[in-house]
């Protein structure tokens, strides 16, 4: 039995996905040894968060078949919400670093960010995509994509109109550093990673074992079949969009100490998330998590070895290569509908 397990692992290692993951792991180990542990730390922290954003995008693509180009704006909304929760409390928190509120306030900020992001996603689906879906399914992918461009413009300018164009950041959530295996890391980074882990595990359990999660997977695989077994499509669409946007929002909130919120802050997470989704295959949600780490690693290494300014070049080149040689993505696409329409 152990033998067959190793056999299947070995077979996977020879596939496109397996080779890429192996190369990534080797690169990470070599470069960490070469330049220092912050390579590993940065990759893991931003990778977890990019994974969250990319998973949100993947699930929206897989279930609703929407090429969401406003996804970064929900990242922005998350950061914005967290900012306005923490900012008023900052004075108090700095003065009383050991108060209960100091421990708990960042969590409140992140939970609220998730709720606001989820709500924004639900409203977007109801107001923009549901009417389009009822009207016509022709050219769905193109039409919905154009819609998201408009949504992006509205959200970005809405932010500027209501909250101004300045950078809204915080210096930290929790003050201080922690030392793990002789490496010093800020508590914020550690918590960001733990949070990503918790969310991903919760999400996986939800999707695999809960009735609603299975319904979402069913809709992604065959919409008509889902309808035939009694699943209400409208409700699933709203819920999935809310979940996807909430994940982006949490990522935005938990990285507020690294990425201050301003109207167009969502652009970079958007591009990176799309890189991930194209790399791993459209609609592949768990693959998007692994892809998040890989693209993050790519970015960290590019920054390290090529310098600032090249961050988008190397990932873009990789994406072009993927699209030429393995357009279904390194882990394979799980989306039937998008490519068939």
């Amino acid at each position: 039995m152990l033998n067959s397990f190793f056999k299947s692992v070995f077979a996977w290692l020879k596939s496109a996905g397996g080779i890429t993951v192996t190369i990534a792991v080797i690169l990470m180990v070599v470069c960490t040894w070469d330049r220092g542990p912050y390579i590993l730390v940065n990759t893991v922290v931003t990778g977890g968060m990019l994974g969250l954003v990319a998973m949100g995008l993947a699930i929206i693509l897989g279930v609703l078949n929407i090429a969401q180009f406003a996804h970064g704006e929900y990242f922005m909304i998350g950061g914005l919400t967290a900012y306005y929760v923490i900012r008023p409390l900052h004075g108090y928190l700095d003065a009383h670093p050991n108060a209960f509120l100091a421990m708990v306030a960042p969590f409140i900020a992140m939970i609220l960010a998730a709720l606001v992001g989820g709500l924004a996603g639900a409203v977007t689906e109801r107001v923009c995509f549901n009417p389009l879906r009822k009207r016509s399914r022709a050219n769905w992918v193109m039409n919905s994509f154009l819609l998201t461009v408009g949504i992006s413009v509205i959200l970005v300018n809405g932010h500027q109109l209501l909250f101004g164009a300045d950078f809204k950041g915080i210096t930290h959530y929790w003050p201080g550093v922690v030392s793990i295996a002789n490496v010093f890391m800020s508590i914020d980074r550690v918590m960001a990673f733990i949070l990503a882990l918790v969310i991903v595990i919760g999400f996986w359990v939800f999707m695999k074992y809960s009735r609603t999660g299975q319904a979402i997977r069913a809709v992604a695989q065959d919409e008509m079949g889902a309808l035939m077994v009694g699943i209400g499509l409208d409700w699933i669409m709203v819920l999935t969009m809310a979940i996807g946007c909430a994940m982006a929002a949490v990522a935005g909130a938990s990285l507020l100490f690294m990425y201050p919120s301003y109207p167009t802050v969502g652009l970079e997470p958007l591009y990176m998330a799309w890189f991930v989704v194209i790399l791993v295959g459209l609609g592949n949600v768990m693959g998007a998590l692994i892809g998040g780490f890989m693209v993050s690693l790519l970015k960290v290494l590019t920054l390290e070895y090529f310098g600032a300014g090249w961050e988008f070049v190397v990932p873009s080149v990789i994406i072009i290569l993927v699209l030429i040689f393995k357009p279904s993505g390194i882990f394979g696409s799980e989306v039937r509908g998008v490519l068939d329409q």
């Binding site: 299975q214 035939m228 009694g230 039937r336």
Partner: protein, 235 residues
């Protein structure tokens, strides 16, 4: 009267396919809807199942007007539709597909009872329960399609071309299983291109041509009908 359709007009967008279609099915009846390609047989089933909205006319199920209700609501009311393409969840296992079929059933004991019933009808499905639905053969897919539809404990089964694309041996198997369901008291409306088979197994039949019901009556009589024999059986 379990299902009563009066003057149904339906189609796709601007294209009208069904013209003033009326039919009725009583509880525990086994009825066939036959006709040439493009007559509108699948459209009829899809309109009943809630996948297409009617343009006009009435569909009464158990006395309730279900015209225009969406597919999931129709399933909840007790009508299970088995499409020609089956619409299986290809990345889920056979067992997962079956359990998804029972989405509208709340109690675990009921789900298990329905699963055992379906497995008894199609032992092959139980053998392959951990296999991905996308890797099944054509006959197995049909069995899974029917099995999954049964998991919703339907009062009425709408079956769209069950023998399509199947080898004769498997066709017999599928029709045998429908017969068994019929003996269990289920009401079945089957759309079939295999006219001989359809008329030999069912009680009554409707002949649909160009979106209109041309003939109706007991299957035996239809099989002897001159028009039917000329058009469908080439006699």
């Amino acid at each position: 009267m379990l299902l009563k359709i009066d003057n149904l007009n339906a189609g796709y967008g601007f294209l009208q396919v069904l013209r003033d279609v009326s039919l009725k099915i009583d509880k525990a009846e086994y009825v066939s809807l036959i006709g040439p390609n493009g007559a509108g047989k699948s459209t009829t089933l899809k309109t009943i199942a809630g996948i297409i909205k009617p343009m006009s006319g009435q569909i009464l199920f158990d006395g309730q007007d279900i015209g225009g209700l969406s597919g999931n609501k129709v399933t909840r009311l007790g009508i299970s539709f088995i499409s020609e393409e089956m619409n299986l969840f290809t990345n889920m296992t056979v067992r997962e597909n079956m359990m998804m079929g029972a989405y509208t059933i709340r109690e675990k004991t009921a789900k298990n009872r329905l699963l055992n019933f379906a497995y008894a009808l199609f032992p092959r499905l139980e053998e392959r329960q951990n296999q991905l639905a996308g890797t099944l053969s054509g006959g197995e897919r049909k069995m899974l399609g029917i099995g999954r539809a049964l998991m919703a404990d339907p009062k009425l089964l709408l079956v769209d071309e069950p023998s399509f694309g199947l080898a004769p041996q498997l066709t017999d198997q599928v029709f045998d299983s429908l017969n068994t369901l019929r003996k269990e008291g289920k009401t079945i409306l089957v759309v079939e291109q295999n006219v001989t088979k359809a008329l030999s197994m069912t009680d009554r039949g409707y002949v649909l041509e160009n979106g209109r019901i041309d003939l109706e009556g007991p299957s035996e009589e239809l099989a002897d009908n001159a028009h039917v024999r000329k058009v469908f059986l080439g006699v």
